[in-house]
Amino acid sequence: MLYNEPSPLEVKVLTRRFGLPNSQSLDTYLASDGYKAFRKAVEMGPEKVLEELKVSNLRGRGGAGFPTGMKWGFVPRNSPKPKYVVVNADEGEPGTCKDRLLMENDPHQLLEGMLIAGFVVDAHVGYIYVRGEYRYVIEILDRAIAEAYERGYLGKNILGTGFDFDVYTHTGAGSYECGEESALLESLEGKRGVPRIRPPFPAVAGLYQCPTVLNNVESFSAVPAIIRDGGAAFAALGTPKNGGTRLFCISGHVNKPGVYELPMGFNLLRMINEVAGGVRGGKKLKAVIPGGSSCPVLKAEECDISMDFDSLAKAKSMLGSGGVIVMDEDTCMVKAALRIMRFYQHESCGWCIPCREGTLWLRKLLARVHEGGGTQSDVPLIGELAKNMLGRTFCPLGDAAAMPTIAFVEKFREEFEAHLNGAPCPFESKPVSA
């Protein structure tokens, strides 16, 4: 898939090879510092690599923002069991479209990140769990893997270091739930993709109950640059506690939607106006979902904010997976909430009742309100139902459905009320901008 026109405001670390001729090939990768970080990691030894990762302030790019160095550090040193490296490439949070590009444009960067992870925790097998819809991405990865084997960057005694590592791709078949790490492991083992009780966490009991390093594509892809240039250099690109850059996926009502690599802490309004070319058609900005559809919506006046994990948490939203969804003044917030709920209801795995039933009833209620069949009591009921799900579901999918719903109702209450008692949707009578 084509990579959008880059913005001059980008700081290209993970995407620096995007756009190079044959950016997928090993030769292109080697010509721009490829696999140097792995050699360096072997010289440094596992402890120093972990230390660099901690210094880098790299936080999990899948959405939760957990420090990657700390996560790797949880893997027990002297386990008699085999250990695994697993890449979460089940990108599925609506609004998120970055891992696809990272795998498609620079597969060796991901492979090198996996190699370093394997070396640090003493794992010798890695799996890349790729969502079922990205079939052609698997083909690109398989070609890169084959090339790495041929030239000694995978397999036995890699580059004469004595370290062995094998990598396999694994296909999903369409399930958002499998992006949750324990459900992903179930699916990778060939089972229905339902979540496991945690703890134990994958670092201790992951794939086949063995210690497992499990991270998002973007997290692994950041590792080679961190080891090559040093953790401090990566950390310095971002804000305190939020190291490095981030691939922000800007979609919705902007002039230049796309995936842009920007420093952590980049201002959201600048991102919309200066990077993505502003709101389409000179319309006014109404709301932004800052990090994928599970993140509570921000009203336009809340968008003067630093895009890092801590600032968004302070604003009672989340940085999530980096999916910035921009909505203009003609967008119906009830319909947006309904669209989002339909997604979570469909993708709820059904394993636990608060999520399975909660998402269904919320979808029905939101649809009723949008269609004009709602009454005054429905609006608070939506909020109450969603709050009842929070923290009471087996995995984070329930929270992911509840959190944006609560924010839509609380921040756009008057819009919900304008739909009640038989009123037609005030936005559907207008010419729709799209």
Partner: protein, 154 residues
């Protein structure tokens, strides 16, 4: 009966894992790529090959959006109905597809050419609205583009 090619491909996938059942999704997709969908008989054959009970494999097959347990047309259209695509004109695109094909979601055209299904976010939100036809992703959809795209699938 699985064909020798299907068996060979499934065995190849199974060799990547400590347990054979880990290849269950791959195996279902290998069968589906050739036959369009996964019949009860094919399901039982795959289960046997992987050392699973049919019920275990059925629990996998019915969990995932992209495994079809009912016959489908020669080509399956999956149109994204998640939030970014909706913002960018999903409704228009959906209505155009339904009208052009003369079918609703879950239905197949009378000539057996297309089945139309909704799907969740396809991970190309910056190029919304988006749909897949078989394993190809199509971006920046408009009614005119859709007409041109459909021509390519006989």
């Amino acid at each position: 009966m699985l064909t020798p090619e299907e068996q060979r491909e499934i065995e190849q996938e199974a060799a990547s894992y400590p347990e054979r059942r880990a290849a269950s999704i791959d195996a279902l997709r290998i069968v589906q790529r050739r036959r369009g969908w996964v019949s009860d008989e094919a399901l039982a054959d795959v289960a046997e090959l992987l050392g699973m009970s049919p019920a275990e494999l059925e629990s996998v097959a019915t969990f995932y959006n992209l495994i079809f347990r009912k016959p489908v047309g020669r080509h399956v259209i999956l149109i994204c109905d998640s939030v970014s695509c909706w913002i960018m004109g999903y409704t228009k695109v959906r209505d155009h597809l339904k009208a052009r094909l003369g079918i609703n979601f879950g239905e197949t055209t009378s000539d057996g050419r297309f089945t139309l299904l909704p799907i969740v976010c396809l991970g190309a939100c910056d190029r919304a609205p988006v749909m897949m036809v078989d394993e190809d992703t199509h971006l920046d959809l408009t009614p005119a583009r859709i007409d041109a795209i459909l021509e390519r699938y006989e």
